[in-house]
């Protein structure tokens, strides 16, 4: 019993951080309608900043001596507020005006990656643990040991919650914030500076995240990439508790922490993660507004359709496509003769594998307008199926690919039960949860997946007695499949299927009114994307002859999305540019490897803000502008012409 109470107390301790992250989510969500995936990064940022102020740091002549806790705390708080203000003012707020809510999830995901990259550069990859604020000796109550930091934690959480409640309910600023959350347009007409309120809510949420990191820092160890964990936990809390409800966020966070710790303590940590993510999926299916969800939900549909600018419909001309296609084929055919120097050719093979997966992702995201942040999960399914089938059961590699395909399609069908009902950011979060779930299974189910160390000794792909055991052979295998994939999918998207998907992307109601079966097309797009990713995953495993969880982690999902967005959505071939940039550049310029995470985040954010059609889309737009001759407007006929029968049938 004593043990159970101590575990539960640890859970509440952890849960209070989740609750504060969830509170930040709820605040930003209520004021802007967007979900800020970078929220969790502030927890880590706060803790690491406090560590630096407590232990002193310096750069060249500039040096800060170790500061006592209270001063270090205030300094960290100020730094985090400043960072929040800057990010809010120069990235988050401008983005809100340009992007739909689904795009905002991508943007804040990019922000999270960017943050992790910065923290990796500043603090390195080792874990940090802070000094407890009032000594190590736990307090003993009836034989139950409570770490003193726990009291700090509860106290700070309580102060923040009471403070938030007071500000929102009793002050003018609070009233303005609530007005923004009810109806931003009406609030703006009443003279409320909505952009300022947006920045304010974003930076306050950031500061809350940082403070929660500072108080939890002495209890758990934190490292640069821990933000994703807090984001997903905070999100699960807010999903359980109900979007935009502050009380719900608190209850959701505390109960999630407790459930997780008890499950981890008595069963296993894998079970605990699976339980939490499974819980999230169930809530998303059953009651997307959250278990304690309030009735005052924002009208997501309206905002989604009206706020952002539409992209131009861009298409390569027929002549351009034929010439480009032939040039590409010739270049692909002869490339190995010029680049047969180890590292680079290998990177080109990897580029091809990822591009193959992104082809499918473009069908889902570019054409179908659905956001997937967990697509690496399907890579993982393909890769692990291939690995397990060949190494454990001695099957031929092609069997591994087929088994992966079947499992991936089955998973996709199940996940789409959740996602066909959801749009925009809910869809993004459901797929993110699925990705994390697969992630945790890959790490935790050691018997099946080999755990963190993965599975080695996977054979090369072979078929009809030929083994693809050289880089050149793999090059032609992978890029051959890519060429086939591009041809098949481009036929598909230029026909009725593609039109139906793009119709759904822009206006579901109008699409339904034309008889387009929206759920069926969404499912088909999801299945196609899952299938392509799964095959890519199998190829990945066969090429490396090794697979480990970090090769197909959520980080990889974001990377694929970045490649897609940077290259150009809805262009099929454009993302190859993104894949080349993000795969080849770090190989060619080794010193850049350290900056990879940072650059990925930065590139994603930059592309979303300044190049919404991607690099390829930008090229197409430039070509279109150049080719446009001034159109002669024909004189408008006003007299009514006789009805021309037979034209319309």
């Amino acid at each position: 019993m004593r043990e159970a109470i101590e575990i539960a107390l640890g859970g509440i301790l952890q849960g209070s951080v989740f609750a504060l992250v969830a509170l930040g989510f709820a605040l930003v969500f209520r004021v802007t309608g967007a979900i800020n995936l970078a929220q969790g990064a502030f927890v880590v940022f706060g803790a690491l900043t406090l560590y630096s102020f407590q232990n002193g740091f310096g750069y060249g002549a500039f040096h800060v001596p170790p500061l006592p806790l209270p001063i270090a705390f205030i300094a960290s708080l100020l730094v985090s507020l400043l960072v929040g203000l800057l990010l809010g003012k120069f990235i988050f707020q401008p983005a809100l005006r340009k992007l739909p809510l689904g795009g905002m999830v991508l943007l804040t995901g990019g922000l999270l990656t960017f943050f992790e990259g910065v923290m990796l550069l500043v603090w390195g990859s080792q874990p940090y643990q802070l000094q407890p604020w009032s000594g190590f000796a736990p307090v003993n109550i009836n034989g139950i040991h409570i770490p003193t930091q726990g009291f700090w934690d509860f106290g700070v959480t309580a102060i923040i919650i009471v403070g938030m409640w007071y500000v929102l309910q009793k002050t003018t600023i609070g009233k303005a914030l609530r007005a923004c959350s009810e109806n931003p347009a009406a609030a703006a007409l009443m003279g409320i500076d909505v952009p300022r309120m947006t920045v304010l809510s974003f930076s306050v949420a950031a500061a809350i995240g940082c403070v929660s990191g500072m108080v939890i820092g002495p209890v758990v160890s934190l490292e640069f990439d821990g933000g994703g964990f807090f984001t997903s936990s905070g999100f699960i809390s807010v999903a359980i508790g109900g979007f935009g409800s502050f009380v719900g966020a608190l209850i959701g966070g505390l109960s999630l922490g407790t459930i997780e710790q008890l499950a981890a303590g008595y069963v296993s940590s894998l079970f605990s993660t699976t339980l939490a993510l499974g819980l999230l999926l169930v809530v998303l299916i059953w009651k997307p507004t959250g278990l304690l969800g309030s009735g005052s939900q924002r009208r997501v549909d309206v905002r989604d359709a009206s706020v952002h600018a539409y992209r131009e419909a861009l298409r390569l001309s027929r002549k351009g496509a034929i010439i480009g296609g032939i040039v590409a084929l010739v270049v692909l055919a002869v490339l190995p003769f010029f680049l047969n120097t180890g590292g680079i050719l290998s990177s080109i093979v990897i580029t091809g594998i990822l591009f193959f997966a992104i082809l499918g992702l473009d069908i889902l995201m570019g054409y179908g307008g659905q956001v997937s942040l967990g697509h690496a999960a399907f890579l993982a399914v393909g890769a692990y199926s291939a690995a397990i089938m060949t190494t454990r059961y001695g099957q031929a590699p092609i069997v591994g690919i087929l088994v992966g395909l079947v499992v991936a399609l089955a998973c996709a069908t199940v996940v789409s039960f959740v996602t066909v009902k959801l749009r925009g950011h809910y869809m993004a979060l459901a797929t993110l949860a699925f990705g994390l779930l697969v992630d945790s299974v890959a790490v935790g189910a050691t018997g099946l997946s080999g755990g963190p160390s993965g599975i080695a000794g996977i054979p090369h792909f072979s078929m009809f007695g030929y083994t693809f055991d050289t880089q050149v052979a793999n090059y032609y295998l992978v890029w051959g499949l890519v060429v086939i994939g591009v041809i098949v999918l481009s036929c598909l998207v230029r026909s009725n299927f593609g039109r139906a998907l793009r119709a759904i992307r822009t206006d579901q109601t109008a699409a339904r009114a034309l008889g387009i079966n929206v759920p069926r097309y969404k499912l088909m797009a999801f299945l196609i994307s899952a299938g392509f990713a799964s095959v890519a995953g199998s190829l990945y495993a066969y090429y490396f002859q090794f697979i480990s969880p970090e090769m197909v982690s959520t980080q990889r999902s974001f990377e694929m999305v970045t490649m897609l967005v940077v290259g150009g959505e809805t262009t099929l071939v454009g993302p190859v540019i993104g894949a080349v940039i993000l795969t080849l550049l770090p190989t060619v310029f080794q010193p850049l490897a350290n900056f990879k995470t940072l650059a990925e985040g930065l590139i994603l954010v930059g592309a979303l803000l300044y190049l919404p059609s991607g690099i390829f889309g930008g090229i197409l737009a430039a070509m279109k502008k150049k080719g446009d001759r001034p159109v002669q407007t024909p004189p408008v006929q006003i007299e009514s012409t006789p009805v021309r029968e037979g034209v319309v049938r």
Binding site: A313, L492, N496, D507, A510, L514, G515
Partner: protein, 262 residues
């Protein structure tokens, strides 16, 4: 001639508001029906009840004898009842031609597998759709916008485009929700021409409209709603002289309304 659309004792409440009160009507196949009434009369509500956007609280809507109760908007479209929207809902990120081609969705028989391999059947089908879409583009005089994103079109052209897309679906009954709203005079003339052409090609059409001269010019039968009740129906000439209708329009003579509208 069979009955295309039949309403029986339709009733709809919004909370305490009795929006539609015991309305029955029947629309003959091949006819062009105008649905008019002052603001708040219940026109749009009745319209949305046809496609189950607002399921009726009482009564039924039958489409060529098929009861529409419980059917989704997709199933209703599949039956051949196609509607447009009050504010044009074009597919903004597709070109004008692609928008019209998207309307053909229900007439496409090839499956995605065949489409992925661009089989001869698909090729023929696509060529047919393209030809038809380009013909429609010509009728509307929108050729010069062919490869322009639909979102770049002026509002009036977007409404025409939406209508063309609906026509492309090959509807048995076409429901037009204020097609002339936001159109200038020459565009309205274009619209009238297109609607009449579609009608002569054999499609039954129901038009909700505020533009009296348009309705009176093209409709052969007019239904008049006021305060949720069907107060009159008949040919335009009769309706224009109907006392109840004149009274419904704030007691003013319909001639005055007509003069204002034009």
């Amino acid at each position: 001639m069979s009955v295309a659309l039949q309403g029986r004792n339709l009733d709809k409440w919004f909370g305490g508001l009795h929006a539609i009160r015991d309305i029955s009507f029947s629309i003959q196949e091949g006819s062009l029906i105008g649905l008019i009434g002052p603001n708040g009369a219940g026109k749009s509500t009745l319209f949305n009840m046809f496609t189950n956007l607002y399921p009726p609280d009482k009564g039924t809507v039958e489409f060529f004898g098929t009861n529409l109760a419980g059917k989704t908007d997709i199933e209703i479209a599949e039956l051949g009842l196609i509607r447009t929207f009050q504010t044009a809902r074009v597919f903004a990120e597709m070109t004008v031609l692609e928008n019209i081609m998207a309307g053909s969705h229900l007439s496409v028989h090839s499956n995605p597998w065949a489409q992925a391999f661009w089989l001869p059947g698909v090729r023929r089908e696509e060529a047919g759709i393209r030809k038809k879409a380009e013909a429609l583009l010509g009728v509307l005089g929108l050729e010069r916008y062919r490869d322009e994103s639909a979102t770049n079109l002026p509002m009036g052209s977007q409404k025409l485009l939406e209508l063309a897309r609906a026509v492309m679906a090959g509807p048995r009954v076409l429901l037009l929700d204020e097609p002339a709203a936001g159109l200038n005079d020459s565009e309205t003339a274009e619209l009238a021409r297109l609607i009449t052409a579609v009608r002569y090609a054999g499609t039954t059409i129901v038009v909700v409209e505020h533009n009296m001269s348009l309705i009176m010019g093209i409709a052969e039968h007019v239904l008049v709603l006021d305060a949720g009740r069907l107060i009159a129906e008949g040919p335009p000439k009769e309706i224009q002289a109907n006392e109840k209708v004149i009274e419904a329009y704030v007691g003013r003579g319909l001639d005055t309304v007509l003069a204002e509208a034009h």
